[in-house]
Assembly symmetry: C2
């Protein structure tokens, strides 16, 4: 309506593209932002793909999320970060995070599978040069390792900031893919004598092992015991 | 010595190449075959990178190992497998497996890290057309989910074999990278009041959940309870 300043609600899903619609098992794909965020926040390591001399390279690396932006950091000398700084308008990358939830043992070899949740992000990675954005990104990277940790550590100093490159990848061309549930054997195989079912994978934390040189009286912080 | 038929011992390490020597943290790199095999055998999912329309694509997928060969399978309709079948002399891929062992909490944000073990394989993926190699590869894929399982399941029938594409990647241009140990804070940070140390990540299995339609009297097999 003319004259009103209606705010458009934020879309709750990413728009599918040719690259994010799978050629098979399309029913396992999702573009829901909350689901994508939850998978990204649960993972520790992403696999960052880029092209070097015409060939693909896939490297594991830490990452952090701030809203609809993902950040990856590294030494200013590392290849993908150096390549991003030199790429205009940005370095084409594919960033993938995968969580494995369970092993699926079917009666037939063919229907063996895993339950998983994954996110694939396509886009251009950009060098982060704004000092404030870089600090927020580094906080997000530390908080991604343990939520609440950025506040309880010494922030990067000038020398460390200068040695660290940060790249940004916007969550724009994104899809999640997941398999849940149990065994999908063929009806004619049900009577076979092989055990079939789901073997859940358990993830958890061991007891924190304190550094030998802790300042006297330093206690295990609450955000760790909460895990 | 002339006249003797000395057998050359198999090398115990992969030969480093320009692509497998890291630009940084070279002390964390290894080319030891046993180490590479152990990491590959412990992981469940690899991240397979390839180039499509000039841009990188990174997809999670199951894999299996037979000696110095890795196998990935999928629907004959899936993109990387279809592309491999059409590529001559093979599809350039990068296959990466990463295990996350622990979170490293340093006093300084800069020295936060994780302990991990990863393997990166570069090479050309080849379509497996030999029926015997394809069967061995599929057995390896099932045994990779749970060792011993291939023997205790119905092998793929003709229809399933026809619907499944298998690609092979030889372990030739390979490196492992790992971080182990504790916190590497700067000496001047040791007196800071922040807790620092290692938070191990625990992996394990939940109790097997049997499919509702198991044939009467089917017990949980020993290779599962052994896990």
């Amino acid at each position: 309506m003319q004259g009103t300043t209606a705010t458009t609600p934020e879309p709750t899903a990413y728009a599918p593209t040719d690259r994010t619609v799978p050629t098979r098992s399309a029913d396992r794909a999702s573009y829901d932002k909350d689901l994508v965020h939850s998978i990204l926040d649960e993972g520790y390591v992403c696999h960052l793909g880029f092209v070097r001399d015409g060939a693909p390279v896939v490297l594991p690396t830490l990452y952090g999320r701030v809203g609809e932006r993902l950040y990856v950091h590294g030494s200013t000398g590392s290849r993908p970060l150096r390549m991003t700084g030199q790429a205009d308008p940005g370095l084409p990358v594919c960033l993938t995070v995968t969580l494995v939830d369970a092993l699926i043992l079917a009666r037939s070899a063919f229907h063996h599978s895993i339950n998983y949740r994954s996110v694939v992000v396509h886009g251009l990675a950009h060098d982060v040069t704004d000092p404030e954005e870089k600090r927020l990104a580094l906080d997000a990277l530390v908080d991604h390792v343990v939520p609440g940790r950025a506040q309880d550590s010494r922030p990067a100093n000038k020398k460390e900031l200068a040695a660290t490159a940060v790249i940004r990848l916007d969550l724009d061309e994104v899809s999640a893919k997941l398999r849940t549930g149990g065994v999908n054997d063929e009806p004619e195989d049900l009577a076979l004598p092989h055990w079939a079912g789901v073997l859940p994978l358990r993830k958890g934390y061991g007891s924190p092992v304190a550094d030998g040189d802790l300042a006297p009286g330093t206690e295990v912080p609450g955000y760790l015991t909460a895990l």
